[in-house]
Symmetry: C2
Subunit: 331 residues, 2 copies
Amino acid sequence: MADVARHAGVSSQTVSRVSNGHSNVEELTRQRVLASMSELGYRPNRAARALRSGKFRSIGVIMFTLSTAGNMSTLEAIGREAALAGYSITLLPVVAPTAGDVSGAYNRLSEQAVDGIVIVYESHLMEHAAFTPPTGMPVVVIDSNPDVAYPVVDTDQQQGARAATRHLLELGHPTVHHVAGPANSFSATHRAEAWAAELGEAGIRVPPMLMGDWSTDSGYRHGLDLAQNHDVTAIFAANDQMALGVMRAFHEVGRDIPGDVSIVGFDDLEESSSFWPPLTTVHQNFAQVGRLAVQLLLASIDTAEPIARSSTLVPTTLVVRASTALHRATP
Amino acid sequence: MADVARHAGVSSQTVSRVSNGHSNVEELTRQRVLASMSELGYRPNRAARALRSGKFRSIGVIMFTLSTAGNMSTLEAIGREAALAGYSITLLPVVAPTAGDVSGAYNRLSEQAVDGIVIVYESHLMEHAAFTPPTGMPVVVIDSNPDVAYPVVDTDQQQGARAATRHLLELGHPTVHHVAGPANSFSATHRAEAWAAELGEAGIRVPPMLMGDWSTDSGYRHGLDLAQNHDVTAIFAANDQMALGVMRAFHEVGRDIPGDVSIVGFDDLEESSSFWPPLTTVHQNFAQVGRLAVQLLLASIDTAEPIARSSTLVPTTLVVRASTALHRATP
DNA sequence: ATGAAAGCGCTAACAC
DNA sequence: GTGTTAGCGCTTTCAT
């Protein structure tokens, strides 16, 4: 910067003013400085700027894994919304979700060059992690229990899971079986609870739940079990990948979907409409969740006021495709 | 830091030494400083540290989209490898891949707080972008032509696409049709070229290529066309998502896979083994690609030496599942 | 409209 | 083993 100032014959203050687009610089001087800048290939130094201003124009994201479709969409939405405001994203994936690693990630991120943090809070393990963000650092949590210490944005898991279950019941199925996500996942728990509640309210005894781990393989294994039992005519899987695995199992055994059994997923991946048969599923608005989280965070960063503890639930929509049909009495 | 120094009754230099784990501090002093640190909740300021050292301990990633499975796996591998070395990832997604946006992303990233840049270089548009990283900033490119100005790491597209095509030929199919990725994608182009070359070397006339956009929908639309033509018995799709779309089309029309037509994809998504039928596909080692790119970059950051222009190709493996079978003469 | 001075928090270099 | 000094590149006063 001093070089530019010398080259343009002005003080470094003026260079700073030009660099930041301040108004009180004469047009002629401005041009001269701009010319010197590009001639010398000047780039402002973010570190120095951040040191002065205390702002990094970056928001930190903590995620356990990037390999689920939901996290991916959420991350993309977070990135897009942040970019719109001129912020970049600093990613700190937690390699293995053990309690030790989690607090490691936290602590590293908390001394990271970020102005705020979005936590995609998949696991109960988080509760045990000792996370103390620097005082005044805004935090928003996605996908969690509403009773954490920070504002929460989430998909309305309950509403989505109830809609899925109700859809199958309305099709005349005597009951609905559930292939759930892992025990340490909040969203999995919420979906399972809502499924059981919906069944209970309809006066139906809740069949035993099968617990998977979100993977197609776990869906496949449970599907193989379910396919043995000819009383099973309706299945709600806690995500599309497990639903896909379940469908594979039924195909292999030769039971027709949706003729013999109806299947509903959760997520609405881009691929789900091309599964065979095209999957009826609960559409999650990941983009909206990510967007809201960032907006909340940026508002707090801008105003320097803490975010009010709040819980925002983004509704889902049931997308009915070809994997569900009216129940027909088994012969 | 001054506070900590005062509180512990030492100079701020000693605090710095403790904070950075230097050895020349007496154990007793160290303990005292550590105690003061945690009592006062001291966090080192990254900006100041970066300003001094010129290092940010973060690497920048430019990607066009996070919504393809391949990019996501690559990003995860980059993040993991970087985390192992104590680096974080700064993400700057380019919202819409127009030439203007690209250079915007570049320029913003180039003044970002990063020590090096990985570009996941999907599109020909990049060639026109005026990207001048700061002098001395290491850059590695993933997924591109080998003749760019930077070292390149990529999946061996040619080898993979040839293996897919050869597999279908060896099954006795008279020819292989290709559903390609978009024209502006390097990897799509390479796969299509390899497919045509393999056919040519077998003395087979190359059938017209169908161009999709990686989406299941585009695969479905082309699949509907292909399914009309009963001479079509073997299809190589440039990714698994399009292969899924093609399969859906054949299911709808009632042509059996693999009885009537064999289909091969490219990527080997986690879901592909549960498609119906389980998809024969080319497995890409995304993790390895990401890992190598980061290793190259970190080596250059550590040594402060420019990376030698190089081209590293990570081999693929053909995974044969149930979507391909021996050709049988059409009745 | 422009410049001079001070200092953000940290660490490398050199005392002692 | 510890303290002192200086300065990284920038911006925020306060003068002019």
